[in-house]
Amino acid sequence: MSDKKTYERPVIVPLNTGLMNKFGTRTEYQPVIDIDGNPVKDLLAKYGSPLFVLSERKIRENVQSAKRIFETRYPKVQFAWSYKTNYINAVCNVFHQEGAWGEVVSRFEYDKAIKNGVPADKILFNGPDKSREDLELAVKGNSPIHIDHLDELYLLTEIATEQNVKPRVAIRVNMDTGIYPMWDRFGFNYENGQAWNAINKIIATDKLNLIGLHCHIGTFMLSAEAYGVAASKLAELAISIKKHHGKSITYIDLGGGFASTNTLKGSYGIGADAIPSMSQYAESITTALLNAGFDNDDLPWLYLETGRALIDDAGFLLGTVLSNKRLSDGRRATILDFGLNLMFTSFWYDHKISPAQPFGSHTEDCVLYGPLCMNIDIVRQHITLPPLNPGDHVVAHHMGAYNITQSMQFISLRPAIVMIDMDGKPHIIRKKEMLSTLEKDEVMPEYLDTFNL
């Protein structure tokens, strides 16, 4: 062994310039050497860099904890896994093993859920884009269909008449919950009476079986109270239905939107400190439902389509430093082998990024860029990190929601996805893309087959 010292790139940082950082971000950057017992270095050596990694343990903990929180406050709770959040089949099946049904917003998601083995009557079919064929399939499977607009209502009524069946439906309701912006492009409005009209129409024509009321008031909702407002308004509709039509509503579905522990751009404070806890959301919703005035034997089920809050912190993106540059203002720019192509959510989150190897006590302000040849490929505009060298590894946190489903093969192929099981063993759940993956469905017209240069 030599007695040489460990080298760290020379850095010099101005002191007391500009504002003090009141959040003391230094502590945010502890090295993350392993994920569920698997060294980052080994995972990257084995599966290539970059690499998505999901912790099965964390996913299960999240679902079990959310179920416990809701079920201790309300007797009838059902989670449905929101496929678009992360529809890698292995991920969906972890949720299904934990008792979650499926929630889908397109035909291919519907087909995926069926292939995964979810009984069709436990697939909630949402979204504004359901074709006649999609609806016919869902009707045949007795899936609860969440009607988004009048055209869909008419089409579904037509199908029901033709086939002489009574499809199970819910209507999607949008409403003012005191938050801005209001998501009023989906569903029927509560305040202006659209929702009540649609309900009356459904019940009067008697072609559809109205079993539920649905809403999804927004995404990454920072107000737990807004859910209480939404739950009250849907409960009020349900009670009016009972009163005017003598019909009990089976379920009230409050959609998704609970915030995950990511840090929204421009927000003060870091993720977990700024968002409501699952218990706060639960308290707000269940209090509203329990106090709405339902008869005890007529309490509706509470359905939840929680996505990001159940999986974001179970996902990681591991990567490698490609190079360092010095910007004209003296700041360091570090270029990583992943960027917007794999973390679409960096448009609205300041993702937490940790070095994957030990480092000294000196840090530098820097910009993190991705590898794409475009100016908008920025992973973090401002971050304080120890000096990183080419070949060093980094871990991006809270990557479980939407990043995989929204990833693109623009410029580079998409990486492998690995899930670490309950015993700490990694499993490939999607292989790394190859050129052949990309070209599988391309077709070359014969006349373009050859050329002379």
């Binding site: 080298y7 760290e8 020379p10 010099i12 002191l15 010095r326």
Partner: protein, 83 residues
């Protein structure tokens, strides 16, 4: 390139430039390099010296040194090159 006269570097990695009143924090390798610059060593001599003491090769040190000197210049710690 020379370090501006009067720039003070403490053993704990505190750098003070009396000409501008600005202070900086520098890591151990950086402090070491500033000392060597003050001793008028050339880039390749600095590279060799650092490689003797740390687990790194001289060529890599020179790459980092190039970047580090740019920073020193940005912070007006290095005297401008005479044209």
């Amino acid at each position: 390139m020379k370090l501006n006269s009067n720039v003070a570097v403490s053993d704990s990695g505190f750098v003070f430039n009396p000409a501008t009143g600005n202070s900086y924090s520098v890591n151990p390798v950086g402090a070491h390099i500033i000392k060597l610059i003050q001793e008028d060593l050339t880039d390749s001599e600095i590279g060799k010296k650092i490689a003797e003491e740390y687990i790194i090769d001289a060529a890599s040190v020179e790459i980092d040194l190039y970047d580090f000197k740019q920073l020193l210049e940005t912070y007006k710690l290095l005297a401008p090159v005479e044209k």
